[in-house]
Symmetry: C2
Subunit: 112 residues, 2 copies
DNA sequence: GTATTTTACAACCAAATGGTTGTACGACAG
DNA sequence: CTGTCGTACAACCATTTGGTTGTAAAATAC
């Protein structure tokens, strides 16, 4: 079961947008280590419960975390697969850069 | 000359924020391959010159591109080092996740 | 010289973002 | 049954974002 790559621009936007906030990055870190409820997360930050709830929602829309009910709580879990997809996106930039070097080498080394 | 890691939250915010826009990602791709002037970039997109200029400014503040004058033009060049720093940030998430697994293994394998 | 290109930057605008408070409701405890 | 806990969601607000147009100035072209 291979994970389908091919993210839309909009999905990629959401992923990086979600990562562009220190609180949200911290939530990802915590939830990658262990499942945490939204209220547990809320206790960790100097902002309202609703604010934390919104951050979790942004991460959920980016699919960087998933939420599953446990009793009255919602357990949040970080999704490593999505992080890896983001890494692959950055790899593509690197590959592109490498291709430039290859082309330069081609011109310089060419013995026509 | 080692590149100093240790990015502030604000710097990291800027990097991911800058990458959270399809036009800006495209600018990074183009300028990683070759130096491109701001006006050349502007020709590539269905938006005003000023809008493209702003996108370049966002990328520049994130240090994902650098600009250097050449005559009346400003040549934009993608900075691969910054991309790699972003990759390292994502790696840290992965390491964190891995540490969880290690701890789980520790508990399970423990022969006390 | 004058005209054109390329950039810089200000002012403006609508929409999105990141926060707040308040209300409501299901799940659990006493 | 009643009260508390955890969540959902709406309404509101200030700031940021992503776009626009307009004006000005420096570098090049004619």
């Amino acid at each position: 079961m291979v994970v389908r790559q091919e993210l839309s621009d909009d999905e990629v936007n959401r992923i990086f947008r979600a990562l562009a906030d220190a609180t949200r990055r911290d939530i990802v870190r915590r939830t990658l280590v262990e499942e945490v409820s939204v209220s547990q997360l809320a206790d960790a930050y100097a902002m309202s419960f609703a604010a934390v709830q919104k951050h979790v929602a942004v991460l959920e829309e980016a699919k960087l975390v998933t939420k599953q009910p446990r009793g009255r709580e919602r357990m949040v879990r970080g999704d490593l697969a999505r992080i890896r997809q983001a890494q692959r996106l950055l790899d593509q930039f690197e590959q592109l850069w490498r291709s430039r070097i290859d082309r330069l080498d081609l011109v310089l080394d060419d013995t026509h």
